[in-house]
Amino acid sequence: MIKKYRYILLPFVSGLIIVLVTTIFVLPKIKLLVDTRTDLRNKKEKLSRLTEKATLLEGFDEYELKKKVVVAEKALPSKKAIAEILVTLSSLSSQSGVSFVSINISPGKLIPDKSGKLVFQASFKGSKEDLKAFLRKLDEVLPVIGFVSLGVKGETLSLKIESYFSPPPESLGKIDVPLSKISQLEEDTYRKIAQFKDFEEKLPSVPIGKENPFSTF
């Protein structure tokens, strides 16, 4: 019987082996290879992003960057810069020959969790020319100030201004995320604010704490 069908044994066994090898090994392996190739392509893209990022980071001048960060932080503080605004208004008014009459602020939460504005209402007294000079200078100070409204009655100037604050970003994001580049507009903005007058160095350093907290000043 075996002898009779011996001639079909080899093709049958070969066919069986081919079918088995194809289903058990070749097809899963091809699927795996396709996945590996996709994975490899993703890895190559990631590597190219990382290489580019590392090259960019290597090229940074840390000192220059630090200087820019300090200026940007002064222009747009991470917290509500009440003292800085008061010092700026007071210094600028005395510089322009204008007297600082009053100020009204409602700061609310001191440590903000998102960007926002802090509105101030202040009044100043002076001649029209001095007030004009004061307003011109106020447009170019650190922290950056925005004008909401302005009122003039006689020699009194009432201003409603807003100062801005923006907490720093919470995370850097994924490591292979491309480095955020500074656009031309942002570069121009930096150049502009770098020219603005900073009165912060005039902020006096006061001793903190006292023996009896209930004693008078």
Binding site: L50, A54, L57, L65, F147, P169, S180, E187
Partner: protein
Amino acid sequence: MLERINLFPKIQAIWEKRMKMRRLVQVVSVVALILCFTAVSLLLSYSLLLTREGNSIGKKIDTYEGKIRLFEPIESKQVFLKSKLKELAKILEVEKKPEEALENLDALSLDGINFSGLNYANGKLQINGKARNVLILDKFVKKLEEEGKNLFSQADFGSINRVADGNYTFNLVLQKKNNQ
């Protein structure tokens, strides 16, 4: 010489054909098997190659990630700077120049006209003033028509009142042109 006598030539031809067919089937089977194993070995080699390349890229990625982690302080400064400058650009985009409100007032001033109050918000200038008499008020209106059109897109008198001393008080609302 003894010659072979073929008694069943047709049967022999069929038999030979069948034998050839069997041999062909066997050869094809062997060739198919060889091809199958060649394909398997090619697949294995290719897979090995991809794995090795993957490992090599993986190592490079680890190296660069380590390098980038060393630069984290610089990266955080850059991200910080970017976020600040982005917001500052938006803030500074709107140039308000409040001193222009006072300069505009100067441009409109006239002998006999006294401005008692001014309010300025969102490009809108609200002026309260007093004119000594109707002729000066008329002169002021003409000046506003001639010179004011370069500065303002709109000018509305809210009110004009004659008061007891013969003076005229007025309330004027001016809308600055967009390009200013």
